[in-house]
Symmetry: C2
Subunit: 319 residues, 2 copies
């Protein structure tokens, strides 16, 4: 017991005893066993996190913020990777819950029925992010992807663009991408414009290369297009590069809008008009929420609805 107390800096163990214990541990090569501690104390200090893809600077920012916020309080992130597939997500959630995390942060608000069931029964805080679900499972730190893109369309129309295309994924696996496309279509129709210039660029996540290819096809099939909105900055940059290869001037002959405010959009020439979804803030606020619930703050009984307000950033790739 004294060893146990010494390791968790319990005040009731004297300074000398603690130092002696730690010194002896070092000599013996003893390493504390969190597995046993977790089993007995029923506290694992794990927080489970699912993201669609590791190779995405936006999600990586969210995870970084979570990691920074939680590790300061001794919480470890258990990261899983759904590959933009809600069935894969279901399997993953089941695996993760077996580790008895103290909270779970999921990306998106669309899940299989069984995944919803598992999350609801888990008895731990559930936080949905990067989305604004109709029927949240618990807490939410997110925003409406459709609404964000609608604002960009509104801006483009106000700036005088009429023949606007959308470059996105070619299946419905990326639910945030689907939402963004839906927002594009709704906004175009609201303006009485043709919303049929939809270019399928590939399976999510859409890469720069796929964005470039899609732009090539768009230019071939509908050369009178005046502007294009992309599901993220990565295909947007690819589209920009294709314009450069074809000596099409941006924004004079073609305006381009992205999503996510990736670093590349700020640095490239011309820089990219985009939407900043505050990926880091999403993770930071989710971490703060988890810690607040853990500390039993009285005002966290009701599920939190933390709204992120994505910001339209106007840069050189559009008028």
């Amino acid at each position: 017991m004294t060893v146990s107390r010494a390791f968790k800096r319990d005040s009731s163990v004297s300074r000398e005893t603690r130092d002696a214990v730690l010194r002896a541990s070092e000599d013996l090569g003893y390493v504390f066993d969190s597995t046993a501690a977790s089993l007995r104390s029923q506290r694992t200090d794990f927080v489970a996190v699912t993201i669609p893809s590791l190779n995405n600077a936006n999600f990586a920012d969210t995870v970084r913020a979570l990691s920074e916020g939680l590790s300061a309080r001794g919480l470890q992130i258990l990261l899983g990777y759904t590959n933009y597939d809600i069935h894969e997500e279901e399997r993953l959630i089941e695996q993760l819950l077996r580790r008895r995390p103290e909270a779970i942060v999921v990306t998106g608000g669309k899940h299989t029925d069984r995944a919803r069931q598992l999350l609801r029964n888990a008895g731990i805080p559930v936080i949905e992010t990067w989305d604004w679900p109709d029927e949240p499972l618990g807490h939410v730190v997110g925003f409406s992807n459709a609404q964000s893109v609608r604002e960009m369309v509104d801006h483009f129309v106000t700036a005088g663009y009429r023949r606007i295309a959308f470059i996105g994924g070619d299946d419905d696996r990326d639910t945030r991408g689907v939402e963004r496309r839906a927002g594009f279509i709704a906004a175009m129709k609201a303006h009485g414009l043709d919303a049929s210039r939809l270019i399928a660029a590939g399976a999510p996540p859409i890469s720069m290369r796929e964005g470039a290819d899609a732009m090539g096809r768009l230019l071939d099939s509908a050369p009178d297009t005046e502007a294009v909105i992309c599901v993220s900055d990565l295909p947007a940059f690819g589209a920009l590069s294709e314009c450069q290869r074809r000596s099409i001037r941006v924004p004079d002959q073609m305006a381009i809008g992205g999503f996510g405010d990736y670093e590349i959009g700020a640095v490239c020439v011309p820089s990219l008009t985009t939407i900043n979804a505050f990926a880091y803030d999403i993770g930071r606020k989710a971490a703060e929420l988890i810690l607040a619930i853990r500390d039993g703050k009285p005002n966290v009984d009701a599920p939190a609805r933390i709204v992120i307000h994505p910001e339209l950033i106007l840069r050189q790739s559009s008028r």
Copy 2:
């Protein structure tokens, strides 16, 4: 026991019994407790992985490959994030080892003495990656960063460039960056060239923005520079963008080389000469090694030395 066996698909439990158990579990909302299983069986199915930064497509590729390779066999990755600091790495390794992972994959070959001690005493396979350590702790899946950059310098010199600069970090935290700079200096000296054009771009990881700033300072202070080699493709792209802003033609007036073969280098205009370090392969081979050791393959008694051969990729940003 029957429940336990049913859950791990033990052949000695009959099909009907197993189905009945699983059905009942679903009804009751039972979730298997991996913590207890880990404690008793002394198998956690965790593999610990430390990387400097999550927000780096190269390391993300390595982790993705590890994740894909290991999850197929039921192994979960426990990811930690050192922020390019070996003291942070030490703390992280200590935390991770408490979870009793079955193997640990670390990025880099430089560690604190205590970290080395902890890793050696852990009694699990240790794999160092992305480096070629003088005194490996165990297994290695990596390459010499210095040697890779030396080859790029050799190519640049052969192509006729003489006044070549290097853009890298301004401290020694990123040990791979330090190695690359050392390779640059050694190669320049071997050619009898001036190796003093070293531009410090900031703290690692060096961003595109910092690469652009560094290029600006280089152009101001040493306008006769003919070529620049960057510690990664991200500052290399930033440098390229700065040249575009200043209407400096690449590669005619300035050649640029990067490192890492990030997607952006292949897509941007002009595309970037770079070095492909096969990030995904590093993770894949590390995963294969872990599985082979786990299966007790007879030929894995000696520590593995798996050499990755980074490939110089010549593109439009250099002659």
